[in-house]
Symmetry: C2
Subunit: 164 residues, 2 copies
DNA sequence: AGTAATGTGAAATTGAATATCAAAAGCAGA
DNA sequence: TCTGCTTTTGATATTCAATTTCACATTACT
């Protein structure tokens, strides 16, 4: 009986946003433990606030958001903590054309690339398995071992095409 | 007779590196004229030296190369002149992961993407028509009009895989 | 509590891109 | 060739995000 309830709860957890959040908190705690990092109030707060965001946030973006409720937390801490999140595998650094590093959530095992509207800065995510395969073939042809790639399509979104 | 010789010479010219160089010098002169730019000793020198390079050069790279034979020429001039080359269509700016802008030669109508070795910084150029088509399809599916794209594959080249 | 190691926040530094500005050079006419 | 106007140059300053520094605070552990 107890066991069945536990399993149900677990499945439910991982299928909701709250579940994702718990999952990521756990992932970060495990990472911190494995690296011998100490647990601090600041990291907890920054993690909570990062997990509450839904877009691609810059350090500055997140810093301002954090400062709103916790004015004592400094820019450097937010900066360092976002780097940690990315090392821990729960965030990914992305560098688009505007020269500002942004962080986005990484969902376990998921990968995507970006369509960027240069008119309104909208970012659309996409995946294309065929392109990924072709990339591997190109790499293989040149004896390369690919670690990561960057594919960004810049242009105007439907709305900006009409307005512009 | 004269005409035939001229045609032969022209064909020959465009099939050699010297021909490319002449072609690009002409292209830049035409651009300069159309923009009302003045002809200067510095621009001639910088163009010559840029055309003599074969890799993807940063402003700093080219500046050092220029300074070696012409110590009087300043960084700002090299910087501005490379921008001009790119406006004139004979160079292209590329921004790889290391956050340093580089310039490469643009061959008429040609496009390519880059395979970058993070071990030795080697850069290999490639083209893949299928990938380009798939990109267009993705864009169309989202109502986007693509202006440019960036596709970079980062990893280790054959040599660095063995050494590393 | 005591101690050593780690984390924090304000400020400083870095590094590349770009702007500024006085002096030098190019250019069209006289 | 000289003149006067405009552009270009070169040294330097500025900008701006990323990153480092360091004195002080906090944590983990005994
Ligand atoms: Mn994304
Ligand atoms: Mn190239
Ligand atoms: Zn748009
Ligand atoms: Zn290599």
């Amino acid at each position: 009986m107890t066991t069945i309830i536990a399993v149900d709860t677990l499945i439910f957890m991982f299928n909701t946003e709250d579940g994702m959040i718990l999952e990521k908190k756990k992932a970060f705690n495990e990472f911190a433990q494995s690296k011998g990092l100490r647990s601090t109030r600041q990291r907890d707060i920054i993690l909570d606030i990062f997990l509450s965001t839904h877009q691609h946030v810059s350090v500055e973006d997140l810093y301002l958001k954090v400062k709103a409720s916790h004015p004592g937390i400094g820019y450097a801490t937010v900066y360092r903590t976002l780097k940690l999140f990315s090392e821990a595998g729960l965030a990914r650094e992305i560098l688009l054309h505007d020269g500002q590093t942004r962080y986005e959530h990484v969902l376990a095992g998921e990968h995507h690339d970006h369509l960027v509207c240069t008119g309104c800065n909208a970012i659309i995510e996409f995946e294309d398995e065929t392109i990924e395969k072709l990339q591997d073939e190109i790499a293989a042809r040149h004896g390369f071992l690919i670690r990561r790639h960057k594919l960004e399509l810049y242009g105007l979104c439907a709305r900006c095409r009409n307005i512009g």
